[in-house]
């Protein structure tokens, strides 16, 4: 019954390798464009999950940091030249760091609240940042929008640099998620999600672990914002700080399964490709939104916990039955192997949060 050693790592490497090889199939521009947006949302859902999925805090303000990242990168390159075209990508870690530090400050305030109140405080933050982007005209040029340098990449392979950077960022985010789940940090976050007051009472550093993951989570989100801004070349406040981005991140994470490694990625793969493809297929009419909602409703009706946890609980039930049916003595008490770490948060009795 033991799982293959390093199965998780192998799965991860295969996945990243498959993603990285995709552009070499010479896909049409429109399909690689879909892939770029899908990857953006895969990274952002994974980042959202790192905080929202593991702690159970429903942050609706992540799009504010997406916008902060977009504008930070845009404003920097208003004053700095782009020659090779790769400079904006090299700036991304600093963008993430900057947004992460803002996240520490804002998180310290917002994390004094919980559950619904936290959702309202963070969505307010989103609108405050959007209003600032509209009105600090001297800095952001307001509703006129902000122009970024045009990426000097060859037209035939224009999307590839963006694509590869996003693959790398997704791999990094998933690695952070994986390591978090395997560490005492992940255990502490699970305790916070289960019963924060009790966790405080048994010495879990509740505020510290929440702040740390919030800051990392929004930092990664801001890096995606930076990539997006450079990809679009022209950014406006209403698109850079868009509630739909937050909602997308949250929906994809819920669809795939909160608190799991693969859930947010699978959620993004399904929802974002569905949305983009339907938008292409059904054209300018907004019928695609109905189809998009339909996909989401169906999955939520059939698997309310999300896709990955639903599958995992079936597997777990099967395994248990197999153990019970098997002849011979019951398995020893030390049977918790690597897969258990990954399925752990999946078999969740849904709490009030």
């Amino acid at each position: 019954m033991r799982s293959i050693p390093y199965a998780g790592q192998i799965r991860g490497v295969v996945f990243v390798a498959a993603l990285a090889s995709l552009p070499s199939f010479n896909l049409a521009h429109w399909s690689i464009n879909i892939a770029v947006f899908t990857l953006m949302f895969a990274v952002m859902s994974s980042a959202w999950n790192l905080f929202g999925g593991f702690t159970g805090y429903p942050s609706l303000g992540h799009a504010a940091f997406f916008g902060i990242g977009a504008y930070t990168l845009g404003l920097w390159f208003e004053h700095h030249a782009v020659t090779t075209g790769y400079e904006p990508f090299l700036m991304l870690p600093l963008v993430g760091l900057f947004a992460g530090l803002i996240g520490v400050v804002l998180g310290a305030i917002a994390l004094r609240t919980r559950a619904d109140v936290f959702a309202i405080v963070t969505i307010t933050l989103l609108f405050v940042v959007q209003t600032l982007a509209f009105n600090l005209r001297g800095l952001t040029h307001g509703a006129q929008g902000l122009a970024l340098p045009i990426p000097p990449f060859a037209a035939a392979t224009f999307e590839r640099p963006f694509y590869y950077v996003l693959v790398a960022l997704l791999a990094a985010t998933m690695a952070i998620t994986y390591l978090t789940m395997r560490s005492k940090l992940g255990l502490s976050l699970a305790a916070v999600r289960a019963d924060e007051d009790k966790a405080r009472g048994v010495g879990v550093r509740t505020l510290g672990v929440k702040l740390l993951t919030f800051s990392v989570s929004v930092g990664i989100t801001a890096m995606v914002g930076g990539i997006w801004a450079y990809y679009e070349s022209f950014i406006y406040p209403q698109f850079a700080i868009d509630p739909l981005i937050t909602i997308g991140m949250v929906l994809m994470t819920f669809l795939g399964g909160r608190g799991t490694l693969w859930g947010p990625v699978i959620g993004a793969l399904i929802l974002e490709t569905a949305q983009q493809t339907l938008a292409y297929e059904l054209g300018g009419s907004e019928y695609y939104l109905i189809a998009y909602a339909l996909v989401f409703l169906l999955v939520m009706l059939l698997m309310p916990q999300g896709i990955v946890p639903s599958i995992q609980s079936v597997v777990r039930r099967r395994r248990r039955r197999a153990v019970v049916d098997a002849p011979g003595p019951p398995p020893s008490a030390s049977s918790s192997d690597r897969t258990d770490v990954l399925t752990r948060d999946a078999v969740v009795v849904e709490g009030p949060r």
């Binding site: 560490s183 005492k184 255990l187 699970a190 918790s336």
Partner: protein, 243 residues
């Protein structure tokens, strides 16, 4: 010998209700002190004030020679003062082993270590052996019976090697066998040097286990003394039966 825990004139008001109204008590090292009183007399609020879940309007708490009034519960826990809750509170989505591991009070550096190291497993295994719960080590806490959850919660707060443990009704809502088990574990740990302050409604348990007994009524202590004296004290009888 100085008291391990000293509570002095502690008060907490909720609106117009004086839940705790100038309560004072002392817990001597190596004692099992009982805290009893009628429903609504402020026992749980007093626990919340001592352990930092609530901050008092006035008064002081001293633990192990330091003023810890209003300190945060996590810091108190890592310093050796831990508590259980009236309704057993464990982390249902975590396994029994993890429930214990997470309660060991980690430093920042340790947070980046493995979720459960070999050392954790060993320590947890020993504790589960002591509580005869080794067979449920890999179950989720949500799969345990209520009595087992109470045991688990008690075992978990021992992970930090506390000096003082506050138990809020350790035997409430569990079967007689489990009461005896709980009592035995308290005795064993007491023999190993842990001090206890226990809120308890089961008088036979209090009589067997505790000395001294502190009686709380309307947010204030009205009696402190050996268990035998409690049963005959007129003030206590008044508080319970009404005058």
């Amino acid at each position: 010998m100085a008291a391990l825990l000293e509570v002095e004139g502690l008060a907490k008001t909720f609106g117009s209700l004086r839940a705790v109204d100038g309560a004072s008590l002392a817990v001597e090292p190596h004692s099992i002190t009982a805290l009893i009183g009628p429903n609504g007399s402020g026992k749980t609020t007093l626990f919340n004030l001592i352990t930092g879940y609530l901050s008092p309007d006035s008064g002081h708490v001293r633990f192990d020679g330091r003023d810890v009034t209003g300190a945060n519960p996590g810091r108190l826990y890592r310093r050796g003062l831990s508590r259980t809750f009236q309704q057993a509170r464990v982390f249902p989505q975590l396994t029994v082993q993890e429930n214990l591991t997470v309660a060991a009070g980690y430093s920042w550096a340790q947070l980046f270590g493995r979720r459960m190291s070999a050392a954790d497993r060993e320590r947890v295994a020993r504790l589960l052996e002591e509580f005869r719960m080794a067979h449920v080590a890999d179950l989720f806490a949500s799969e345990l019976s209520y009595g087992q959850r109470k045991l688990l919660e008690f075992a978990a707060v021992l992970m930090s090697s506390p000096k003082l443990v506050l138990l809020d009704e350790p035997t409430a809502g569990v079967n007689p066998v489990m009461i005896a088990t709980m009592e035995q574990h308290i005795r064993e740990r007491h023999a190993a040097g842990v001090t206890f302050l226990i809120v308890e409604h089961d008088m036979p348990v209090v009589m067997r286990l505790c000395d001294p007994v502190v009686v709380l009524d309307q947010g204030r202590e009205i009696f402190t003394g050996p268990p035998q004296a409690v049963q005959t004290n007129p003030l206590v009888l008044d508080a319970y039966l009404g005058a």
